[in-house]
């Protein structure tokens, strides 16, 4: 994880940017609806993991999904694509 430069002397010659999780910050804050996984319904098919644009779903050892709410933008693709409707979108708490 790169640090944010403070002074001119901290800068590289030309903008070279470091690979960083959250390059755009905690994008979970963009969410209006949050996906919630019903583990008992989930068949471990990994479709939600494959289709997540934000890499915010981790495919666990047993292939079940774990959603990273720090970064999930709440697009709802996972819920829409889940073949057994094991993911539902619920309104974010205020």
């Amino acid at each position: 994880m790169a640090s944010v430069p403070k002074k001119r002397k901290d800068l590289p010659l030309t903008p070279l940017s470091c690979p960083t999780e959250g390059s755009m910050g905690k994008t979970g804050s963009w969410r209006i609806f949050r996906p919630e996984v019903n583990c008992s319904k989930c068949t471990r098919c990994t479709i939600c993991w494959v289709f997540c644009p934000d890499a915010a779903i981790t495919r666990l050892e047993d292939d079940s999904p774990k959603i990273d709410y720090d970064y999930c933008k709440g697009c709802g693709i996972c819920a829409n694509e889940c073949p057994v409707k094991a993911i539902v979108m619920v309104r974010e708490e205020e």
């Binding site: 001119r8 800068l11 590289p12 010659l13 030309t14 903008p15 940017s17 690979p19």
Partner: protein, 391 residues
């Protein structure tokens, strides 16, 4: 060392070979073509271990050089006029990327109308792109300056691209004697390619993504600092080159019989060579004239100009260029350099040699005599005068 008779374009090719350039990307345009034809010969005959990418445009030529330099190899290209203009945005990208690309610019006038003859409006239009600009006065200097340019551009205090400019036909197609140093001597002078950064799968970066107003200015300031560093380094590298190879060019500005001269004629490119003939003739006539040739136009040698001005009563510039609605860039920048001086010499600017109009030693003599008349009168009739313009 070998002595040959060849054109400046071919010598540019020899220089790229001597510099052990690894990637050349170029598109043909008159009068640059024989540079890339020479390189194609070198590459295909195995004399040069390089990739020659036969791109489909000059824009692509510059972009391919940028991408190759960022991938860690020494690059070279060459172009002229409209080809250079087509590269324009990529020129900014190269300097912003701080990549030490060297390019031969075979100066040619810009259209419309079509002209294949020389003037400097092509390269001078690229003044503000963050490229170092050299201007050469003979074939040998073209070869030498390309090697000097790599040395300069790959210095960590600089890391900027450079254009080595030579006037089309006048140099590009003129055969003249030149010395080609041994490869070992060149290798001693110019170490293997060095750049400030390189893309690497083991240490991945994204280069040149969005930079907010918070940081953009600082990156620009660093380019300005690098230009200032280049200004200090050019004379050093020129001297070092002279020690290795025997030819030296006076660093940023080549001066000729300027000591105690009433009038200094300031030129760029081959005019600086013919000006020496004019100066010799005028001196013989008892006229106190010297000449100076701006060899490095970016960074602009302000301090050298101030020094020249301090020792003379008048400066006259000869521009192979016009900034429409103003005057020649050289004239403007000489005046800008002198603004802070209390005791400024008289100034007159001349526009000459556009679109290949021949500038002979006699033309230069005429300009000098006209300037001297102004000096006698103590005033300049017309700040910018076009030389040999039809009525």
């Amino acid at each position: 060392m070998k002595r040959i008779v060849d054109t400046a374009n071919h010598l540019a090719g020899y220089a790229a070979k001597a510099a052990r350039v690894k990637v050349v990307a170029a598109y043909p345009i008159t009068p640059q073509t024989t540079v890339v034809e020479k390189i194609a010969d070198f590459v295909e005959s195995g004399q040069m271990d390089a990739e020659y990418i036969r791109v489909e445009s000059e824009h692509s030529a510059m972009v391919a050089c940028i991408a190759a330099a960022a991938t860690g190899v020494r690059t070279f290209t060459a172009t002229s006029a409209h080809g250079l203009a087509l590269m324009h945005e990529a020129l900014h990208w190269a300097s912003g990327s701080r990549l030490p690309i060297v390019m031969a610019v075979v100066n040619r006038a810009m259209g419309a109308p079509w002209s294949i003859w020389p003037d400097m409006s092509d390269s001078l239009s690229q003044r503000d792109t963050g490229w170092i600009q050299f201007y050469c006065a003979d074939n040998q200097e073209v070869f030498d300056t390309i090697l000097q340019a790599y040395k300069l551009c790959e210095d960590e205090r600089v890391f900027l691209p450079a254009m080595v400019c030579l006037e089309g036909f006048i140099l590009s197609h003129t055969y003249a004697p030149a010395k080609l140093p041994d490869q070992a001597t060149v290798d001693d002078f110019l170490p293997p390619y060095k750049s400030g950064w390189v893309l690497d799968v083991n240490k991945p970066y994204s280069h040149a993504n969005l930079v907010s107003p918070e940081w953009y200015m600082e990156f620009r300031y660093m380019i300005q600092e690098a230009m200032e560093n280049a200004k200090r380094l050019v004379p050093q590298i020129d001297r070092e080159y002279g020690k290795c190879f025997g030819s030296e060019y006076g660093g940023l500005v080549e001066k000729y019989r300027c000591e105690g001269a009433d009038l200094v004629l300031l030129t760029m490119g081959t005019m600086g060579s013919d000006a020496k003939l004019a100066v010799d003739k005028l001196r013989k006539e008892g006229l106190n004239v010297g000449s100076a040739r701006v060899r490095v136009y970016r960074p602009f040698p302000m301090e050298e100009i101030v020094k020249l001005a301090a020792g003379s009563r008048m400066i006259a510039t000869m521009d192979r260029h016009i900034s429409f609605g103003m005057e020649g860039f050289l004239g403007s920048e000489v005046k800008a350099s002198l603004y802070g001086q209390e005791d400024r010499p008289l100034f007159a600017g001349f526009i000459a040699g556009l679109g290949g109009r021949d500038v002979t030693a006699e033309t230069i003599e005429k300009v000098a005599k006209k300037s001297l008349r102004m000096l006698d009168m103590g005033k300049v009739e017309k700040e910018t005068e076009w030389v040999d313009l039809r009525e």
